[in-house]
Subunit: 113 residues, 2 copies
């Protein structure tokens, strides 16, 4: 069972094959997960647009996060967090190529779900 | 406005005067906050017992977390997380004396609130 965010990395991360997703908590109206990226980005031309709100903090590595409503990519370093309201179109432009990028993501229902 | 968990420490932390609490997100059914401890502990003989559920991850420093239902203190290091269901009596036995301890706490209503 995963009990530490930084010491248990899945094999896919070690092989830099794919992003990995681990559920840390799942309860009514809330889901907390760890995502580890190893250089992946959102496919060109694609945007995420979720029905749920999402609060994200980057804890290791770095990433470029772009909102459709903004002209510039936000560069995130460890400790940087951002709230992504439901239906906000956004994409990950890049993630760190030199080390795993560890995200902690809190999906929450909020008022209008 | 606080946008990074690790680069903006309140004066009280720098002076090691008191624990500090910063709200990072507040929405119906959920509150996310940063707590920074500088050696503080729960007063002797006291227990926390909250009406809300709480998911906690320690990100810097270290701490001893004790549940009334357990005989041993859990020692937490960066990346260690724990879910504390509502009404679980617990206390912080100690926090790191040599550096600030940074907690990320997600309070959530869950099913029975």
């Amino acid at each position: 069972m995963l009990v530490n965010l930084f010491t248990h990395f899945p094999d896919a991360v070690l092989r830099e094959e794919a992003e990995t997703f681990d559920a840390l908590l799942s309860a009514p109206g809330i889901k907390i997960e760890r995502i580890i990226s190893t250089g992946q980005a959102t496919p060109a031309g694609s945007w995420y647009c979720q029905a749920e709100n999402e609060w994200v903090i980057l804890l290791r590595g770095s990433a470029g996060l772009r909102f459709e409503s903004e002209t510039r990519t936000r560069v995130l370093y460890p400790g940087d967090f951002v709230n992504i309201p439901a239906h906000s179109r956004h994409r990950v432009e890049w993630t760190d190529a030199s080390m795993p990028t560890v995200w902690l993501v809190v999906h929450y229902a909020g008022a209008d779900n």
